[in-house]
């Protein structure tokens, strides 16, 4: 049973969003999050890999070994159909919540 944790929830959202663009390995995902958030968000390996495994177990991702761009064998993760649907839903939810929070921050 996955733990309902807000931080992890958003991590999963980010992972799914990144993998939407195509299959990739764990290190690339963590680098991408770090770089595209201008070093604001930093994903520890200690959170990322368990999340990846958890999502694979849950059927959101599919994993397999491929050659990385550096010419080494790496474990690539790919979004499944179920993952895509989950991403849509999570994205919608996230937008609604952040809009609501933003509204409160504006008005209060």
């Amino acid at each position: 049973m996955p733990k309902a944790d807000n931080l992890q929830g958003s991590l999963e959202l980010l992972v799914m969003k990144i993998l939407r663009r195509g299959p990739n390995h764990g290190f690339a995902i963590s680098s991408y999050i770090q770089e595209s958030s201008d070093e604001v968000l930093r994903v520890e390996a200690g959170s990322l890999y368990p999340a990846l495994h958890r999502m694979t177990e849950a059927g959101l991702l599919k994993a397999g070994w491929r050659m990385s761009e550096a010419g080494r064998r790496a474990r690539f993760y790919e979004l499944t159909v179920k993952g895509r649907r989950q991403l849509e839903a999570e994205q919608k939810k996230w937008r609604a919540i952040s809009a609501a929070v933003a509204k409160i921050l504006r008005t209060a």
Partner: protein, 896 residues
């Protein structure tokens, strides 16, 4: 511990794990390539490993791990409340123990399959017929009377069995076995000992797949009259009597003074085909002629004597119905071919019955008794569960804050729920283990009670096996669920806000509704148990004090079997006279006589009486007995008219008989029976002349109504019973009697010595068992109810301390407070009794057939049970009420 070793250890061996390792390695190297501090990354990865392990092992491992955590936590919590744990575990021990005990008896006696190869494929072959087949003189084994003249019987003649076994193709094997016989066994120079022997067919051990551990099974050709007698001994006898060595093979022992060679030792745990009956020696069917000569001379097998039971083993995959039809058809063909029968109506119809459990170990009454006990212990376990639930509920109130804090810190409700269930599980495990031990001891004691007056060869195999363990385990788990559910649900439903407000009051549902209901349920169950115990106890008393018609105290029977030592009919008479003289000479002995059927020993003879001028019909039957001179004086059965049996009557052709008053009144109403004649077979109605009338006495059962009895003059049979009237407690006579018998002829041992009261007790053993055990359970139920009620009242008083303080401050007297608690108690008890009435009524209905001269709605039992519960309600309220009355208003209010 280094990180890598930890990784290796965690991921040892699993392909999946090496993948994870490789994945992490990749991450490390990529990171290092970016110029990050390698060591720091590795340290962080240490965490990864642990969490990855969590993720990877989702499901069973994680669940088990956290469950173990919960169990440890639960144990710590339990250690904080040792008194409560003790109370819970003790209650469970009693509940589970009682159930385990009765179950192991039921299992051993009724449920467990035979210890042979593939018992499921065994079929017992019996037959049905309209009345006795004409050519049959005697049927051993079971004969059941159905509707009309229909009978169902278990045995056939030995020749019939052998023909069937040889010619049948239906079964893989058809084995034959006789009912056990008591024989005298002499090994070496030791004095002869009585053991249980069964005659079996040559294919018996192979057919059952129970091959001897040493030696060999019988061979078909060994089952022939006149051959050297070969025997196979039981594992028990081998260990106990024959030294347990391999030198036992080919040793010669003497059975009823006939030499027999030992060919093998049966496997350990193999007792024959009837649970509760241990056979010591097996001999071929044909050996019966040598071992049991009738009248002292060797003769062939008697074809009109039907004594061989049959058990077949189905061929794998053979259809059930066809087997029955085939064997029945073969039997019919055989009968026709032998020329004895042509009318199909006169040929018995063979039927097949399931043989998985062997021959029925218990009669219906005994089996019923065990099921009744099973029901009672079930009731007891429910009471225990209710009690434990209440204890745990009370405790969960104290733990409400703990639950709330854990919830506030983010624990899942499911986890709390599970936590509580696991704690219950730990308690159930402790209680179950202790219950198993208690159950084992209880089972042995109940078994002893059950076996009262039976010899060593009849005992059930009560070792703790997987079946009993499994049952106890399942029962404990079920109980844990039963009593653990309510507290667990409560813990998981804990209202955060409420609980943290430090007010424990609202937590258990202000009015203690569930606990009250549970206590009332306990009272209801207790009423059920009490009514059952009361009815069974009263029924037993009724049986015990029934008038038997003779003086049962200081009366004993000594039995010998001179025929087994080779005495012929001519030599038996003088031998018996000498024994009788020796017995009469013993100090404390007043009178000695002989009797064919010991009174109230459970057996007996019964036959039709043929009166001149009246039809030969089933309507005129009588019990039959043969008695020696002085019999009525010895038993103190009063002589009503005429004379008793005297020495001059004791001749083979004697026609003088004594009848009892029931006989005289039923068959010669308003006439003088003296001098009247009758017969006991259809051809002769003039054989006997009534010379005396004696008082009525109970013949073979305390339960039977007055029944006619005919006393013929004594003539010795295979077993001779001396009846001895003493001035002293007759149990102390045993040794003297043994010596007196041995002094006449050491080769004829005393086979049995029983006091009349022991014989009566033996016929009552089922009732005693039921009465005693149900009484004990009733008492335990009462104690449980008292504890349950008292505990809840004490708890309620503690919770209402403030309220009571206020009441007293406002002028309530101590008496008012006591009345308040008492009212509470009586209300719960009253509700319980109301709920319990239909249950008690139901159980009384179940018991109906087991009761003797007692209505199921016995008012005395009902009243006693009611008052017992009332007394419990008052007593249980006493301590809490006293405590409530002593509450100091000031300090109670200050606490608020």
């Amino acid at each position: 511990m280094g990180m890598w070793s930890r990784i290796r250890k965690t991921f040892r061996g699993d392909r999946h794990n090496t993948e994870i390792q490789e994945e992490l390695e990749f991450h490390l190297q990529m990171d290092a390539a970016r110029g990050h501090d390698h060591r720091q990354t590795r340290v962080r990865l240490g965490n990864v490993t642990r969490i990855a392990e969590d993720t990877r092992a989702m499901g069973i491992v994680e669940w088990l791990d956290s469950a173990l955590q919960d169990a440890r936590y639960g144990l710590r919590q339990l250690r904080k409340t040792p008194a409560l744990v003790l109370a819970v575990v003790l209650s469970l021990t009693v509940g589970v123990g009682a159930n385990t005990a009765i179950f192991s008896l039921v299992d051993a006696a009724i449920l467990r399959p035979l210890p042979v190869k593939d018992p499921d494929s065994l079929r017992i072959v019996e037959w049905t017929n309209e009345g006795f087949p004409a050519e049959v003189d005697n049927i051993n084994g079971d004969v059941k009377h159905g509707s009309g003249k229909q009978i169902q019987a278990s045995s056939v003649a030995a020749w019939l069995y052998r023909r069937l076994a040889r010619e049948q193709t239906t079964f893989e094997a058809l084995v034959g076995i006789a009912d056990p016989d008591n024989v005298a066994l002499a090994a070496g120079t030791a004095p002869p000992e009585h053991v249980s022997l069964q005659y079996v067919s040559g294919n018996f051990f192979q057919g059952l797949g129970a091959l001897p551990v040493i030696g060999r099974p019988f061979r078909d050709e060994e089952d022939r009259v006149g051959r050297e007698t070969i025997v196979i001994v039981s594992h028990r006898l081998w260990m106990r009597r024959l030294g347990g060595g391999t030198d036992v093979l080919d040793r010669t022992i003497r059975i009823n003074n006939v030499p027999a060679r030992i060919a093998g030792v049966a496997p350990p745990g193999f007792f024959g085909l009837k649970a509760g009956q241990w056979t010591d020696v097996y001999a071929p069917l044909a050996a019966r002629v040598a071992f049991q000569p009738r009248g002292g001379d060797l003769r062939g097998e008697d074809d009109s004597d039907w004594w061989v039971r049959q058990v077949g083993r189905m061929k794998p995959g053979a259809p059930e119905l066809t087997a029955g039809v085939q064997i029945a058809g073969l039997f019919r063909t055989l009968a026709v071919r032998e020329g004895t029968k042509t009318d199909p109506k006169e040929i018995p119809e063979l039927i097949t019955l399931p043989g998985r459990r062997g021959f029925g170990a218990l009669n219906t009454r005994d089996a019923n008794a065990l099921w009744i006990l099973m029901l009672l212990v079930g009731v007891l376990l429910l009471m225990v569960s209710a009690n434990v639930t209440n204890l745990l509920l009370a405790r969960s109130v104290g733990r409400q804050r703990e639950s709330a804090v854990r919830l506030a810190l983010g624990a899942a409700r499911t986890r709390l729920f599970r936590q509580h269930l696991i704690e219950s599980g730990v308690l159930a495990l402790l209680g179950g283990a202790a219950g198993l031990a208690l159950g084992y001891v209880l089972a042995q004691s109940i078994h002893l009670l059950f076996q009262t007056g039976r010899d060593a060869s009849s005992a059930f195999d009560l070792h703790l096996d997987l079946r009993v363990l499994g049952y106890t385990g399942a029962l404990s788990t079920l109980t844990a669920l039963l009593f653990g559910l309510a507290p667990a649900v409560r813990a998981a439903r804990a209202d955060l806000g409420d609980a943290l407000k430090a007010q424990t009051r609202s937590v258990m549902g202000g009015r203690l509704r569930l606990p009250r209901f549970l206590v009332s349920m306990q009272i209801a169950l207790c009423l059920t148990a009490l009514v059952a115990a009361g009815l069974l106890g009263r029924s037993l008393e009724n049986l015990k004090w029934v008038d038997v018609g003779f003086d049962r105290e200081n009366l004993a029977y000594a039995s010998v079997s001179p025929g087994r030592a080779g005495y012929t009919a001519e030599r038996t008479g003088p031998y018996l006279d000498r024994v009788r003289e020796e017995l009469a000479r013993l100090p404390g002995v007043i009178r000695v006589s002989t009797v064919q059927t010991r009174l109230l020993s459970g057996g007996g003879n019964n036959g039709r009486v043929n009166f001149p001028g009246r039809p030969w019909s089933d309507a005129s039957r009588s019990n039959l007995n043969r008695v020696g001179e002085g019999f009525f004086e010895t038993l103190r059965i009063p002589l009503v008219a005429g004379r008793t049996i005297e020495r001059r009557d004791l001749r083979p052709d004697a026609g003088t008989v004594v009848v009892d008053e029931v006989f005289a009144r039923r068959y010669f109403p308003n006439e003088n029976p003296l001098g009247r004649r009758f017969g006991l077979d259809p051809k002769n109605n003039n054989r006997y002349e009534i010379v005396g009338v004696v008082g009525n006495s109970m013949y073979n059962s305390l339960r039977s109504d007055a029944y006619p009895t005919v006393y013929e003059p004594y003539s010795p049979g295979a077993t001779v019973h001396f009846v001895i009237r003493t001035t002293v407690d007759s149990t102390r006579l045993a040794e003297g009697v043994r010596r007196a018998v041995a002094s006449v002829d050491p080769s004829v041992p005393l086979t049995e010595f029983r006091t009349q009261t022991a014989l009566i007790d033996r016929t009552l053993r089922t009732e005693r068992l039921l009465g005693f055990v149900s009484g004990a359970f009733g008492l335990v139920a009462l104690i449980l109810a008292a504890i349950g009620l008292g505990g809840l009242l004490a708890y309620a008083v503690a919770r209402r301390t403030n309220e009571i303080g206020v009441r007293m401050a406002l002028g309530a007297a101590a008496g008012d407070v006591i009345r308040m608690v008492l009212r509470d108690s009586l209300w719960m008890a009253g509700a319980g009794i109301l709920i319990g009435l239909p249950c008690a009524y139901a159980i009384a209905g179940v018991l109906k057939t087991s009761l003797f001269r007692l209505e199921p709605l016995d008012p005395l039992t009902a009243a006693l049970s009611f008052f017992a519960l009332l007394a419990v309600a008052v007593l249980a309220a006493w301590i809490p009420a006293r405590r409530a009355a002593r509450i100091d208003p000031m300090s109670a209010l200050r606490e608020e």
